[in-house]
């Protein structure tokens, strides 16, 4: 209540975060400019006529600042109070997409509102973040219970499933980043171990011949029983546990992975994954039933990553200089204002430039974690961790895919990529955090 009468909104506001934010947006604008600008363009005029990407991004930036200002003027309690409403609103929006979506570039997750493309899944990141923080900070929530684990997981799995149904598997993965929040709040490490094991198993399935893998798994199971026999006395339970684990492993390896690769993921996504690990797609034949040409698709996905790697690699140690990168200037890299914006930095400013941008990002992330840890209220802390997780996931996956470490998933680089929805969403997330942090002495429920 005090805050509302506070004459300055800057009190308690973490200026470091704001400076980092401004710095990143400036880098983003410059990168988009260097992609779009052609020699001889009238820079001033094209900035003012708002037809080029960089001038549009400037408008988005202005809008974001306005929204940020409003958020800073809002009472912190507003967010705790309305978190669940926002979540419900988000789910509703996502469901509305099904009848009202516009078909753009194969995705079914966008509603066209006037001249603005609204992607509810993007906004949903924010809402999930709020709702999860709200749920975890409830007095009655006991996060030692499995039921609360399931409930928390449900909050993020629901929008993830809807997003998958909208053929945006990449975006859906973002929601799983919130497991980091749950981990911080006491999710048993066993879950992470199981999740990690599952990931290893899936990767092994892709890399190793299925029969060899089955034999290896069986051997591991036998060894486990052999050693467990001596240690434990509950031998029957041991055998049951090992048998169940073995059966589920083989089940994943034999049936679950092929099922996901042929039925859940789309042909091009499978191709991207296999082109990343450098293998022939064994499911290609199954996919051709849908009319995809496996060879052509593979070439295409290969092209993106190859050109992106050439762009970043050609930057060398100090880079080719601003506006000197031929790869990005002449459209060799596809989607280079949005998903592959990092190429512009890598090519123009080289290893040092990339290192600087990465440094800013890691500084931002660690700063958010520090801010999270200094919160008195659980809601603020959970929310801060949520923001950090989402940012981290976007940054890591986006950069990894441009340098060939991750399959190509169309997710933007926070604050740098071109795009109104993503800039506004990330700004909102960050400014709510700043608002909450400004009131860190309060205990919010």
């Amino acid at each position: 209540m005090n805050n509302q009468r506070n004459p300055t909104i800057s009190k308690g506001v973490d200026s470091t975060l704001i400076w980092l934010y401004l710095l990143l947006v400036a880098i983003g604008l410059m990168s988009i400019f260097s992609v779009t600008y052609h020699e001889g363009d009238d820079v001033l005029r094209s900035f003012l006529n708002f037809k080029t990407n960089y001038s549009k991004q400037l408008i988005f930036f202005a809008a974001s600042l306005l929204i940020g200002l409003f958020i800073l003027l809002t009472d912190s309690k507003f967010f705790t109070a309305t978190a669940n409403i926002w979540y419900a609103f988000g789910i509703l929006l996502m469901l509305l997409v099904f009848p009202f979506h516009t078909n753009i570039k194969g995705t079914e997750s966008i509603i066209k509102l006037g001249g603005f493309n609204l992607q509810p899944a993007e906004l949903m990141k924010l809402f999930v973040c709020l709702a999860l923080a709200k749920y975890l900070s409830r007095v009655e929530t006991d996060f030692n219970k499995t039921s609360s684990h399931l409930m928390a997981a449900g909050i993020l799995v629901l929008p993830a499933l809807i997003t998958i149904a909208q053929h945006e598997t990449g975006l859906a993965l973002v929601f799983f980043a919130f497991f980091l929040v749950m981990f911080r709040e006491g999710l048993p490490a066993g879950y992470l171990v199981i999740g990690f094991s599952l990931a290893v198993l899936v990767v092994a399935t892709l890399l190793v011949d299925k029969n060899v893998l089955a034999i290896v798994l069986t051997a591991i199971a036998i060894v486990a029983i052999y050693f467990g026999w001596r240690i434990t006395r509950q031998r029957r339970e041991l055998i049951i546990i090992v048998a169940v684990v073995w059966a589920s492993c083989v089940g994943v390896q034999r049936f679950a992975v092929p099922f996901i690769f042929t039925h859940v993921l789309k042909g091009y996504q499978v191709e991207r994954i296999f082109s990343l690990i450098g293998r022939e797609n064994p499911y290609a034949k199954l996919n051709t039933v849908e009319g995809d040409e496996p060879v052509a698709v593979k070439k295409d996905t290969d092209y993106n990553v190859r050109q992106s790697k050439i762009a970043i690699g050609s930057g060398g140690f100090i880079g080719r200089g601003f506006l000197k990168g031929t790869q990005t200037r002449f459209d060799f890299v596809p989607e280079q204002s949005t998903d592959f914006i990092f190429c512009t930095i890598g090519e123009g400013f080289g290893f040092l430039g990339s290192l600087a941008v990465l440094g800013i990002y890691i500084f931002l992330l660690l700063r958010i974690v520090n801010i999270a840890e200094r919160q008195r209220s659980v809601f603020s802390r959970c929310y801060a961790y949520g923001v950090a997780s989402v940012f981290f996931f976007h940054i890591a996956i986006n950069i990894c895919m441009t340098i060939g470490l991750a399959p190509v998933i169309g997710i933007p680089l926070p604050f740098i990529s071109y795009g109104g929805t993503s800039l506004i969403t990330f700004t909102t997330m960050l400014f709510i955090l700043i608002r909450l942090d400004a009131d860190r002495q309060m205990v919010l429920r």
Binding site: I312, G313, F317, E347
Partner: protein
Amino acid sequence: MSVFNQSRSNIIRLIFLGLFLIIIVQLFNLQVIQGKYKQLAMDNAVFPKVKYPDRGIIYDRKNRPILNNTIMYDLVVVPNEARKTDTFGLCEILGIDTAEYRKRIIEARIKNGPYRPSIFEDLLEPLLQARLDENLWKFPGFALVERPVRVYPFNAAAHIMGYIGEADSGIIKRSGGYYHMGDYVGRNGLEAYYERVLMGQRGVEFLLKDNKNRLVGNYEKGRYDTPAVRGRNLNTYIDIELQQLAEKLISGKMGAVVALDPKTGGILAMASGPNFNPNSLTGPNKQKNYASMVLDVSAPLLNRAIKGQYPPGSTYKPIGALIALDEGVINQNSGIGCTGAYYGCNKVVRCTEHWQGHSANLRLSIAWSCNSFFSDVFRKTVDNPAYHSSRTGLVKWTEYMHAFGLGHRVGIDLPSEDGANVPDTTQYDKEYRRSWNSCTMVTLGIGQDKLTVTPLQMANSMAIIANKGYYYIPHFVKSIENETGQDTVMKKYRQKHEVLTHIPNDVFDIVQEGMQDVVENGTAKVARIPGISICAKTGTAENKTVLDGKVIQLKDNSMFVCFAPREDPKICVAVVVQNGGFGATWAAPIGSFLVEKYLTDSIRAERMPDVKRISEANIMPEYLNRLQYKTDSIRAWKWFNITKDSNYIKKYMPHGGKKTAVLPAPVAGVKHAEKDQMINKNLYAKRSTTDKRNP
């Protein structure tokens, strides 16, 4: 509630840092360790465009360009931009149908892709180019692009200038990588000999291209570009009007004309018949023209002035006389009683003159070209009592002949000159198993037997006689533009070769007097020009060829050599008209016209009808028809064997090709003998009818 989990914040920090570390390691790997990406990016985006320099221009002695550069236009198309073009209008102008149009567009698409220009039709005729230029606005996606081509403004000197063509793999390999695919290289003539001077220096321009291979600008504002350096020009001795006259006179005949300046060795004109218009090898139909000339058995592409090997006949006689005089076996008063033949040896050497006294002395014998006299002179030379055997005599004679520039390449600045043949002892040893004497080769004395010379050698030997003992190697190029010490190519042409200056001038005078008499009152009175003292010698040389496996005697070659004026020689001419008959019939007037044209700058009006008559005469040897038929039919047979296409072979078949079924399909691996039999059986069954055509 979860304060107990505080330590987990450190794990999360570690996860963040760990993944960023992985990213940094991979970035370091891509950007610093692996250097290949820079090159890959360059290959992607930078297109090194070769700038071709203008080739050097070749001027004649009066600074008229006889080989120049000009611009021709190619019609190029960018397939994707040509969708809205007026197809019918374009097809009508180009004279093609829409099917052909579509075919070419598809070809262009395949060749350079839909976004880059490809040639739609190359080297447009000027008229066509003008029409297209007017209507080009109707054809979006089409453009006219300049292309430099060589042009011969006087339509002359094809054999001298040569032509340029794209470098083939052999040339590229031999040049050690200097030439690239698509470069033009001089392939013959001066274009080839002075390639290094004419070609200039290639430049390169680095252009940027985008992801669709469209060129979008200069790389780094052209900082790495190198400009092309124009090729250097050549100044030659050629008198283009004389050259045109020579070509006019030799056209329709097989033979050659060489005119040179004895004082410098500079060649004033050199023509070979049959000849062709050099511009036919640069324009739109160059491939077609070239092919038809290659397939022509009369070989218009052959430069007979340097590659034709002819028995010199009587034109050798002044040289024979000089050798004998220098050897001291005869003197100017030596004579012989000739009654129409020489009976000194077993075989009879016929002489064209019968009347008493035509061989009373050397001067008369040259003037009347007495075969008996020169047979006798040759035998005296070989059987010179100063040497103990005729072997040594022949060796000495061979040495003299070589000194006259015969029997070896003269060294002209054209590629692929022939040396012709001056027989020596080894040749006769081989043929006659070392048992021969001066009678065996007595006809060498009248320029027959195994002696052959090229027209260039004949002209050069005339220069030695005119100069009384010295010569400069015949050459075309007077000077190179901006010549430096590195242009060693010109060195050998500026060196005086004093090969026979030991022969006293009065000996030369004796022979020159005889040669002057040839024109004044001897065999070549037709060549006389009032006011100019011409020294000349006609020749009527026997020659044979092999046709259908038989040696056949052809009509004599008409030969003529001369120089003028005698007091101060300015021009030497050698003319050969194959199978023309007497020297005085064709060759002598041709030579005389050239001398008159060069020395007086014009030809007297009363001689113009003769000029016209000779230039319009067609005396191509008749056996060529048969030879052409034979060559074509063999080619048609080979074509049929390769493609099973009977279109060409039909007209060579008996009964007009109705019996094609008789021809058994050739089995793979058919022996050559069998094939030859087949050719004889099927293709030459019509011999009797063709013989009727060539009686």
